[in-house]
């Protein structure tokens, strides 16, 4: 398969830009680990004061360009979403990633994340792309639990 189908320029850029990189104390960080390669991420989702909206995401970690770009792009696209919006968005992203090239991420809905569409054809890399998302869902769940 063509390498360029996987590594679009946006991905290579975000692998360096890493939007949201750098963790502050507090909140409910989630640590996720990919045992096959040893990649890891620690990520904290911040909510607005009323607890309805994602106000920020911070993360640190190391990993391949796909995992780093996916985290960076996620932060670029999802901050400002309400929790249900994010959940739907994350489900859509996951579905596309798992589709083995059947479902592309539409640019209209997913913005620059559409650049990750190619990942779904590289089954071994889907986990890389999902690492930050699993961490975000987990941190969100921990945060909401704390509000109850």
């Amino acid at each position: 398969m063509s390498l360029d189908a996987l590594y679009q320029q946006i991905i290579l850029d975000h692998n360096k830009k890493r939007v949201g990189f750098g963790l502050n104390a507090g909140g409910f960080p989630s640590h996720q680990y990919n045992p096959t390669c040893g990649d890891e991420i620690t990520l904290t989702v911040r909510l607005s004061d009323d607890g309805t909206t994602i106000s920020g995401i911070e993360w640190e970690g190391k990993g391949c360009s796909i995992s780093q770009a996916s985290a960076s792009l996620m932060v670029s696209e999802v901050v400002g979403m309400t929790i249900p919006e994010f959940e739907e968005f994350a489900n859509g992203f996951r579905e596309a990633m798992r589709s083995r090239g059947q479902i592309a991420l539409g640019e209209e809905e997913f913005g620059d994340l559409a650049a990750l569409s190619g990942v779904s054809k590289f089954v071994a890399r889907v986990k890389c792309a999902m690492l930050a998302w699993v961490a975000a869902e987990d941190s969100l769940a921990l945060t909401r639990e704390s509000l109850n």
């Binding site: 680990y33 045992p35 096959t36 590289f122 089954v123 071994a124």
Partner: protein, 420 residues
């Protein structure tokens, strides 16, 4: 039963059936020991080995990713075949290792005392039955020796039947493990699995079913039994040697301590400790049984293409004929003589005045491959008052001609040794 045309088509798929033994055609009546192999599955496996070999779960290159997918798909097929989800199915070397995995988890947990339900101590009890295969007896004996737990043995009746009451009479709050076979490999008798499991679960004991003989002769649903563990082997299901499975209930597998450790079952490894993946990876360290899983799944696909219900029906009818034919021979005594109970196509018997080795030799001289000895069930033989026996067992490729020839030759045995 299968029509002759159906049988012929099935037999054509098993090349060994067409072999001859010392110049006479083979009549394979030893399927309960190990089943013959369908060509389609063996060839699929060898083609995979020759063209798709790669490291599973460890590589990112295309071949490795494809091998991993194929391996996962094989696990899904095998699990689906017995009504399970793939995450509950641990691959092992054979049913013996499956049972040992549980027994070892118990021994390891008991050594430190920190293993919840897996931790046994003096005064606890383990319940098995008189009809167990050595594989489902000796591991428990070793658990008992180490922990001080008591091994209690539920009796069978004189005609070999395991009554539910024989097990329930032994159950109490001291019972920590109940392990028994779904189908006896000596008697062919189908045990009342669900009833025994139901009673055993009430004590909170870990319940393990040895489904070696059950899984090969008709559809089973491991979840419907309600046990904690079910063990079985590929090589008795027309699959390859060197692979078997331990099915475990989700909560039980989560609670069960690791036994074998190493690569591919970890997340983080430091010198002082390591973190483990969830089941099934937790119990499968090292390079997995890749081509064997592929080959097993393909064998099961072949079984399904013929129709497992139809195979079961064929074997049941042929088995009844076998039972009657052997029972009718003068001087031949069946083990397990209750005609009321459900059984698979398998009979064990003794021949008055002729040792099983000698019986087997006469059969062998006519191409009939039967098993002689104690069939890894010395205690059951002792219980039934015999030292050893001869066993005929059927598979999907067995025919009425096989059964008739076996009965005819068997009828001549005593005469040959001057006993008739």
């Amino acid at each position: 039963m299968f029509t002759s045309a159906e049988s012929a088509a099935i037999r054509a798929e098993f090349p060994e059936i067409a072999e001859s033994v010392g110049g006479v055609p083979l009549v394979y009546l030893d399927t309960a020991a190990t089943s013959l192999r369908p060509r389609v599955a063996v060839e699929f496996e060898s083609d995979f080995a020759l063209r798709h070999t790669a490291a599973v779960n460890r590589g990112a290159h295309t071949l490795a990713a494809e091998a991993t997918e194929a391996f996962d798909a094989a696990r899904e097929s095998v699990a689906g075949f017995v009504g399970a989800r793939p995450s509950n199915l641990v691959f092992t070397s054979n049913a013996t290792e499956s049972i040992n995995l549980v027994a070892l988890a118990i021994r390891l947990a008991s050594a430190t005392g920190a293993g919840g339900r897996f931790s046994l101590r003096e005064g606890d009890e383990i319940v098995v039955t008189e009809a167990e295969h050595h594989a489902n007896l000796i591991p428990w004996q070793e658990v008992a020796h180490q922990t001080g737990a008591v091994l209690r043995v539920a009796p069978v009746t004189d005609d070999g039947v395991l009554e539910v009451g024989a097990v329930t009479a032994l159950l109490s709050e001291r019972t920590k493990v109940v392990a028994f076979g779904a189908v006896s490999n000596v008697l062919g008798i189908v045990n009342p699995v669900a009833e025994v499991v139901g009673a055993a679960k009430e004590t909170g004991a870990l319940v393990l079913i040895d489904a070696c003989q059950a899984a090969a002769h008709g559809p089973i649903d491991v979840t419907a039994w309600g046990a904690d563990f079910v063990a079985f082997s590929a090589h008795k299901m027309y699959g390859p040697t060197a692979i078997g499975a331990l099915w475990g209930a989700s909560a039980t597998l989560a609670e069960m301590p690791v036994v074998l450790t190493g690569g591919s079952m970890i997340t983080r490894v430091d010198y002082d400790s390591s973190d483990y993946l969830p089941a099934p990876a937790k119990f499968e360290p090292g390079t997995p049984r890749l081509t064997q899983a592929i080959g097993w799944a393909e064998s099961l696909r072949y079984i399904e293409s013929v129709g497992f219900e139809r195979i079961a029906e064929h074997e049941r009818e042929l088995g009844a004929h076998l039972y009657d034919a052997v029972a009718a021979i003068a001087g031949v005594t069946l083990l397990g003589t209750n005609s009321e109970v459900d059984r698979v196509g398998l009979v064990s018997f003794t021949v008055d005045g002729v040792h099983p080795h000698d019986v087997g030799q006469v059969l062998d001289s006519r191409g009939i491959a039967a098993r002689v000895g104690h069939h890894c069930a010395q205690p059951l033989h002792k219980r039934l008052g015999v030292g050893a026996s001869t066993r005929f067992s059927l598979g999907m490729y067995s025919t009425l001609e096989d059964v008739n020839l076996a009965a005819a030759v068997l009828a001549e045995v005593r005469d040959y040794f001057g006993e008739a």
